[in-house]
């Protein structure tokens, strides 16, 4: 009479969601690296391009209260903390990255939306920024769900 049964699976293995290839650390590291590059490029663009090509009807609300140098510093800082997070995912580094990146994207979306609402804005810029924000939100969620060591704000 055999009473042997299969060993119980670890509770953590049952609790963690399956993220597929989107949950692979190398894919997520590439995405954060791309985020870093994007913010560096925007900072460099704001720094190097003539102001007439940056501040226009589409972005007037964005640069109306917060001046361009502040945005340059913000984008550069966001790129720096994201680069540090690319080096090694830790909760603190990822939290700093999202704290720098997500409000910035939200502010730019609202700024572009004001321009579009006024009838003089650029709807493509709005679409690009919304797409980026959705992408980064899903990336943040995947990193949070990916495991205890990858949880921003985790242990």
């Amino acid at each position: 009479m055999s009473t042997a049964s299969a060993p119980p699976r670890p509770a953590q293995q049952l609790a963690e969601p399956r993220l597929g290839w989107l949950g692979r650390p190398d894919v997520q590291r590439f995405e954060v690296a791309w985020l870093t590059a994007f913010h560096l490029l925007v900072a460099a663009g704001m720094l190097l391009a003539p102001r007439s090509q940056i501040i226009g009807p589409s972005t007037s609300a964005i640069f109306g209260f917060i001046p361009l140098p502040v945005w340059v510093v913000w984008f550069t800082l966001a790129a720096l903390v994201a680069a540090v997070a690319v080096h090694r995912f830790t909760p603190a580094r990822l939290a700093a990255t999202w704290t720098a990146v997500l409000p910035l994207a939200a502010a730019w979306i609202v700024g572009f939306a004001f321009g579009v609402g006024d009838g003089r804005g650029n709807v493509l810029g709005l679409i690009v920024w919304i797409s980026h924000l959705v992408w980064w939100l899903t990336l943040a969620a995947r990193l949070y769900l990916g495991g205890p060591e990858a949880r921003w704000g985790g242990a």
Partner: protein, 119 residues
């Protein structure tokens, strides 16, 4: 360093958007930062106060001894039940053998009473 001089020398372009819109963007940027930082902080706090591993039971040894005793009792009971079932099997076999024997004798008696086998 020429680019920097050009950038600094450029005349600032006055934003054409409304003041309230610009303030809204700035508020979203500032409050959003605070909000995300708060969410991160709350998340880290929640993770730190996640349930700690269970404390080892000080009476675990005693409990294990009791379980071992029960296990031994169960084994003994099972062995006795196994013997009992074997005995029942032997008795059933004997009864079957007796029944076969009786049936054969019955057939023989029927043949003696009615050798033709007719109705």
């Amino acid at each position: 360093m020429g680019w920097r001089l050009i950038w600094l020398a450029e005349a600032p372009i006055a934003p054409s958007g409304g003041d309230s819109e610009a303030v809204t963007v700035a508020l979203i940027a500032a409050l959003g930062t605070v909000l995300v930082a708060l969410i991160s902080w709350a998340g880290s706090r929640g993770a730190r106060t996640s349930p700690s591993p269970p404390v080892p039971d000080p009476q675990l040894g005693d409990r294990l001894k009791v379980v071992e005793i029960h296990d031994e009792d169960d084994r003994r009971t099972l062995a006795q039940l196994d013997k009992h079932v074997d005995g029942i099997g032997d008795r059933v076999e004997r009864i079957r053998w007796d029944l076969d024997h009786v049936m054969k004798r019955l057939d023989r008696l029927i043949e003696q009473l009615d050798p033709d086998g007719g109705p």
